[in-house]
Amino acid sequence: MIKIVFFAALREQLDCAELSLADDKAKTVDDIKQLLSDKSEPWQKTFANTSLLCAVNHDMVDGSHLVKSGDEVAFFPPVTGG
């Protein structure tokens, strides 16, 4: 399984903090984004935002990054700490 987590405004828009995906459903981060976009219109609208960031296993990655079983994939808006 691949664990997918959402943070901040993204989590609130989707009303979802976490979900899991079967390993064979996606090869890359972009595949996951596509699958999530296909869920429903609100998800599609949210993932149409090009400023969203993605981290796999706590490291920032881009859409072509390969995912594998056991990975934790996170989606979140640009950061605003400090």
Partner: protein, 160 residues
Amino acid sequence: MLNQYVDPEISIQANDFSLADEVALLEKENLTDGAVVTFTGRVRNRNNGNSVTTLTLEHYPGMTEKSLAKIILQAKERWDIGRVKVIHRIGELSIGDQIVFVGVTSEHRQDAFAANEFIMDYLKVKAPFWKKEKINNAGQSSENWLAAKTTDTDKADLWS
């Protein structure tokens, strides 16, 4: 299962911190460093023309510590610095509350000044924290997530 990072140089905490205590720790049994540079960030009462009542900080546990550790390592590679401490608070904060602390020591002041500013600039654009503010505008209360500022990205880019 992802590794959880325990690092004495980094603390993500709900509790407040004492500037005096942190300076004392940076200086304790440290007789080689003549410079101690600290930065403290606090909650302002106004933002984008609105009166702020509270600020809530969310973060991504695990990734936060990992990204801060990477930033501290980059600072150590770039400047000749001694001790480093980064504290970031999470949860609900009020106006005037301390949010963030960065302390750096070095033999001479230039390295500590530069490294401190670098760590703050990178923290702003790389560490996974998000602020939600509660504002009061003409008696109307509302909540919104802060948008990232391009000025912060531009400032961080100056170091590369």
